[in-house]
């Protein structure tokens, strides 16, 4: 039986933990709102960019730009996007589990797989499992700028253009709602849309100005940047949403704990009062005797 003072100390400790989790929830909520706004602003642009590209690529030969070239798959790059910080529920473990599954699946098919990681959690995870990382970026989440996406895109494009890799896959958390994130494993390069659109979309014979090459030279790298930027923002919003609900749960659990501890405390207090009373009564009886 813990003493009264022990219980009191525990209540105090749990209470201060709940204060922290509550504060973290507030912080996550405000960060989430910001991230969500940026994401919603970008979404129409990214969608339209993808649509433009697929309607253009439908009528274009794959020789026109190195990023359109589809080679037989041999080297596959997978980029895993997580957060830098923890305390956000299953956010990171979900994505890492999905990514690992995908990696082992690819390895079974005897592709040469290279793993890159964005976010400290992914870097640590693969380091622990002795998976060599081709490239890693940390310190991005929290203050995402377009320059981050540009940097990553430049790296990817270079690898793809000099044929070091034949396919680039990105795994990230897509934002569904505050309560739900969806793990998405998507192909960045070669452009996923090309085969799919050839039949489904009407093919226009576009007039290009200044020239087809110039347009593609402009548009294709830009599209990669935008897709990455979008993934970064989606992941950011998902992370903060996940942290929000994780902290909400933690606060709730702490409150439950305080309640049950308080009950325990009161019981113990009553028991000790009863005991004291019995002592007194016993003493009085003894004196009377």
């Amino acid at each position: 039986m813990p003493t009264l003072r022990d219980i009191k100390r525990r209540i105090k400790a749990v209470h201060s933990t709940s204060k922290i989790t509550k504060a973290m929830k507030m912080v996550a909520a405000s960060k989430f709102r910001k991230a969500q706004q940026r994401m919603f602003e970008l979404r129409p642009y990214a969608d339209r960019m993808g649509a433009v590209l697929s309607s253009l690529a439908g009528g274009a030969e794959s020789e026109i730009h190195p990023l359109l070239a589809v080679r037989p798959r041999k080297n596959v790059d997978i980029i895993v996007l997580t957060s830098d910080r923890g305390l956000c529920g299953a956010f990171n473990s979900n994505i890492l589990r999905a990514a690992s599954k995908h990696i082992s699946h690819l390895k079974k098919e005897e592709f040469e797989v290279n793993v890159s990681a964005i976010g400290r959690k992914a870097v640590d995870y693969f380091k622990r499992r002795n998976v060599p990382l081709k490239k890693s970026w940390t310190g991005i989440s929290g203050r995402i700028s377009y320059a981050n996406a540009q940097e990553i895109a430049a790296d990817i494009i270079e690898h793809y253009t000099n044929e070091a890799t034949d396919e680039i896959i990105l795994a990230y958390n897509e934002f569904k709602s505050v309560a739900a994130q969806k793990v998405v494993v998507t192909r960045l390069l070669p452009l996923a849309s090309i085969e799919a659109t050839a039949e489904t979309l009407p093919v226009f014979n576009f007039i290009y100005e200044p020239s087809k090459e110039d347009i593609f030279n402009n548009l294709l790298p830009k599209n990669v940047e935008i897709q990455i930027f979008r993934a970064l923002l989606e992941s950011q919003a998902s992370e903060e949403a996940a942290r929000m609900s994780a902290m909400e749960n933690a606060t709730k659990a702490a409150n439950d704990m305080i309640n049950s501890l308080t009950l325990q405390f009161n019981k113990a207090r009553q028991a000790s009062i009863t005991k004291e009373l019995m002592d007194i009564v016993g003493g009085v009886e003894a004196l009377k005797g």
Binding site: L42, P44, Y45, R48, M49, F206, I207, E209, I215
Partner: protein, 136 residues
């Protein structure tokens, strides 16, 4: 049925404009061009410049900062790095930017001349467009 153009202006900061219009004029990299309903499929890059959307009632002016235009099936899609309606242009900021850019160009020896030039052009165009707010 009357032929209309569907004009959409999208930037990474959101959807700026999405309306039915009669005529769109914009600055392509090869010069100004004008789109009417029934235009041939056309893709071009856009320079810093003005975009005019005309309807029967009024003309709307936009500032467009680099981007692409895709015209297909009576739909004009503008993907711009940034774009603003003429009435939403922050003239004060543009003037400031213009001053700064001029300063940089004047003092410039080894600095990034192209960047300074581009921001000067942006600022000048913004100011010019913001003054076009005359209702037709």
């Amino acid at each position: 049925m009357e032929n209309k153009l569907r004009l959409e202006i999208v930037t990474p900061h959101g959807l700026i404009y999405s309306e039915e219009v009669d005529e769109v004029t914009a600055h392509g990299s090869e010069g100004e061009f004008c789109v009417l309903p029934g235009h041939a499929p056309y893709v071009t890059t856009l320079k810093i410049g003005m975009l005019i959307a005309k309807t029967a009632k009024e003309s709307k002016y936009f500032f467009v900062n680099w981007g692409y235009a895709e015209i297909a099936a009576d739909k004009v899609l503008i993907l711009a790095d940034s774009a603003e309606k003429s009435e939403e242009i922050d003239v004060e900021r543009a003037k400031e930017a213009m001053k700064r850019a001029e300063e940089r160009i004047r003092k410039c020896e080894e600095c990034d001349f192209h960047r300074a030039e581009a921001s000067l052009e942006r600022a000048a165009t913004r100011i010019q467009i913001s003054q076009m707010r005359i209702p037709k």
